[in-house]
Amino acid sequence: MLTIDNLHARVAGKDILKGLSLEVRPGEVHAIMGPNGAGKSTLGNVLSGREGYEVTEGSVLFEGRNLLELEPEERAAAGVFLAFQYPVEIPGVNNTYFLRAAFNAQRKARGEAELDSMQFLKLVREKLKVMQLSPELLNRAVNEGFSGGEKKRNEIFQMALLEPKLAILDETDSGLDIDALKQVAEGVNALRSPERSFIVVTHYQRLLDYIVPDFVHVLAGGRIVESGDRSLALKLEEHGYAWVAEHGEPAGASA
């Protein structure tokens, strides 16, 4: 589904990703862990097409298409979704209006019929139940005045609605207490399917207690320096990222 090969990317003249490779097959959940500054957020931003991220080398194929050539909205329509670490507040834009505009824009781009407001509202009600999100939030401006937990749940709610093929969760656990974390994880788990893949980017192992990954990768210095199963996350938890520096770097370098 997603093949990242030797990806190099630069932000504001600074090399951040330095040869990252990753293969994600349908239905898989990949966790990407790493210390601050390793390039975790850069990966999500590059994959979703944010301006200011310059790819200097390597390739990204999504279902056989060159993802890097597509505009952000084309990537969304192709099925890529980024759950933001810091969801943006947009005063004056009604949340429901925004969701319907996004939903219909994607359908239109794929040549599917758009939903009218009644059909859309019905769909929204179904999806709301899954996320246990207050319907009142739909009448507010996008993310405006939302608590930290509400913003993150709103991201997952959008994901439930837009039904992407590949979801990238960028530090979705940051700033959440344990109850909010569980709610977010439940929302994600409800969306797991044999066709849908996830890249879960996180600093802490804690989230992976609730969203159990198939693979865990350690990102350091702009490359994946170690890959393994879930036990790798536990090892990291036990030893800290300093352990990667000592043990991971040579393994990554020789890979």
Partner: protein, 434 residues
Amino acid sequence: MSQPARTPFVAALAGAPLPASGIAWLDEARRGNLEAFVAAGLPDTRVEAWKYTALRALAQRGFAAGDAQAASRPIDPALLALPGAGAPALVFVNGVFRQDLSLPDALPAGVSLQPLSGVLERDPEPLRFALARYYREAGDAFARLNAAFAGDGVVLRVEAGVRVAAPLRLVFVGAGAEGDLAWHVRNLVELGEDAELTLVEQHLGAGEQGHLGTQLGDFALHAGAKLHHAVLQQAGTGSSLFRRSHYRLDARAQAHLHALELGGALARHDLCAELVGDGAAFHTHGAFLPNGRQHMDTQLAIHHRAHDTVSSSTWRGVAGGRGRGVFRGAIVVAAGADGSDATLANKNLLLSPQAEIDTKPELEIYADEVKAAHGATVGQLDERALFYLRSRGIPGAQAHALLTAAFARVPFESLSHEALRNHVEQLLLAQLPG
């Protein structure tokens, strides 16, 4: 003695016959104001109030005085429709009252609404104070023209204690004629003690025309009166429109103004409020959206002259193409106006590199114990918000339009009349690119 050469603008109007009223004091005031206009001509940019609005191009054009055919110009009724806001109570075409287009619903008891032309024929004396005025400031050219030539307009009075729920709609149309002409309307609105009224004022264009329109409006609010005033300025794209509105608020009176500036090649609004009674409150909310080569200038001056007076002003400017926006927001708190509370915010958005907005908040405070805050910004759309929308699948152009409309919409969120608010929303979406 050498006189400065008359510009074509002045020359065309200098010798025009004044409307014959048969009222000695009115004829005298008209002559006096025309003489003052001819002597001074149009202000140049050395006059502070006209610093950012140059009238050089206008001065080179000549406008015929009035429209003799105004009464018979065909107007498409669809132009006058405003869903949910009733039929227009009074309609003026090129400055002339049109009975055939005006459909006042049965006016509630205690409301008097008449065209100025009718009042001048029957009972002009009560208007003497307002209409016999001389305009003496350097920048008063258009007020002088209006005082000299305006023969029609709105005379509206709501008796004390009368509260009118349904909005009352006034429509001013500039209609295509054989050539470009100058038209003028003079409006006088008075709300008695504790009276309440919602007024919708529309400026529309019909057919190709490059007319000059002027409007002078006086709004007198007696103690405890409440005025909701919505102005939708959609004058014809080639026209020039100069409006001047003066609000006087007695004790506890409240005015809420919502103004949307969309039309005209050159549109200027001078808005002056005097809060003369304790506890008076004046709230303005507005947006101006110059596009193409449009020039829009809003000059706001709010004078706090009594205790515990309140004013707030929320204005947004969005300039696209080679559009130019000008905003001046002056708040003056007079000595002794203790307990006054004044806020003013003007945020602006530039959609193109050739667009320009000049904004100038001014605060003059001569009283103690005053709360005042003001601010003005000019910027571009938030890149983070744009990316957020696009990352959800909304195409770039649509994301731009959505965010721009959201920005311009903010002043109108406090517009309580739902049909009007929806209408404003539609106008904003239609005006913005995307």
